[in-house]
Subunit: 163 residues, 2 copies
């Protein structure tokens, strides 16, 4: 008897617009598997030339990483039939920038630490199985362990150029 | 004459709390170089067992990716003295999930496409230089091209275990 393998697509789009300052206004859409749209904005504090009207971009990255893993812990706890009450994740995202002379700085990640607390009476091995399953199902976590998968294009006149 | 190399840290923390459903409430803090805190929440739509009270986690990931690059395009346009007006980035984040039989699904990124429009009279080579500089200075982009840098710990009693 063969086991059925099903695949599905998850697609999010973001139309980002910057009028001239540090603030960026965004329309973010889930396109698949469902259609829904949200308005978000980013800005920088005044010390970085922004107006402080919205959270800085990395706020959204940290929130996405923590909430994606949390959501999969919750979803898979049901699927694995592990009784789970409250959960907490303390997330720390650390980058380092390096600036040589007056050149623009270059950045690199240092580490991302997720400390998890699960309110449950399930034995430790069940909790570990839940975390392993959630890590494999977490879209952001699985993205961060892959090699270069980002593509950029620049509009020049009416044409798009790979950059 | 030696060129001075300076490095600096950028740290964001996120305390995520899940009370039992699909909604996650978060306190997200920039810890370095400045201190500021924002309250964000994620949820899923009703078709995924959520209450639809907040955007799903990947909304924040797409917004972070687009706005981080946009912010660096703006910041470095000033540093490189390239006159830039409005900018647009159309971002598409594509993942695929695979489910075997009744097992929990596993996910993988397919591709992230950023299509950039820069309102400027600067020559193409200047625009390309701006994009290259922004990519190297974009914290999220530089994170996505690295190998595994995520660590997890689980609280067991009063101790933290690597998982």
């Amino acid at each position: 008897m063969s086991v059925e393998v099903k695949s599905f697509d998850v697609i999010f789009e973001c139309d980002a617009h910057n009028a001239g300052g540090m603030r960026t206004d965004m329309a973010v859409r889930m396109v698949k598997p469902d259609l829904m749209e949200f308005a978000l904005a980013s800005d920088e504090g005044s010390f970085h030339g922004g107006g402080g009207t919205a959270p800085p971009p990395l706020t959204y990255f940290a929130a996405g990483l923590a909430s994606c893993l949390m959501t999969q812990l919750r979803a898979f706890s049901k699927r694995l039939r592990i009784e789970v009450g409250e959960m907490k994740i303390s997330t720390r995202c650390h980058w380092q920038g390096e600036q040589t002379g007056r050149e623009p700085y270059v950045t690199a990640p240092v580490g991302f630490d997720l400390d998890i607390e699960i309110g449950t009476d399930a034995p430790l091995e069940e909790q570990l199985r839940l975390i392993e399953t959630a890590k494999k199902g977490c879209f952001i976590e699985q993205t961060l362990v892959r090699e270069n998968i980002i593509a950029h294009r620049l509009k020049v006149g009416e044409d798009w150029h790979d950059v």
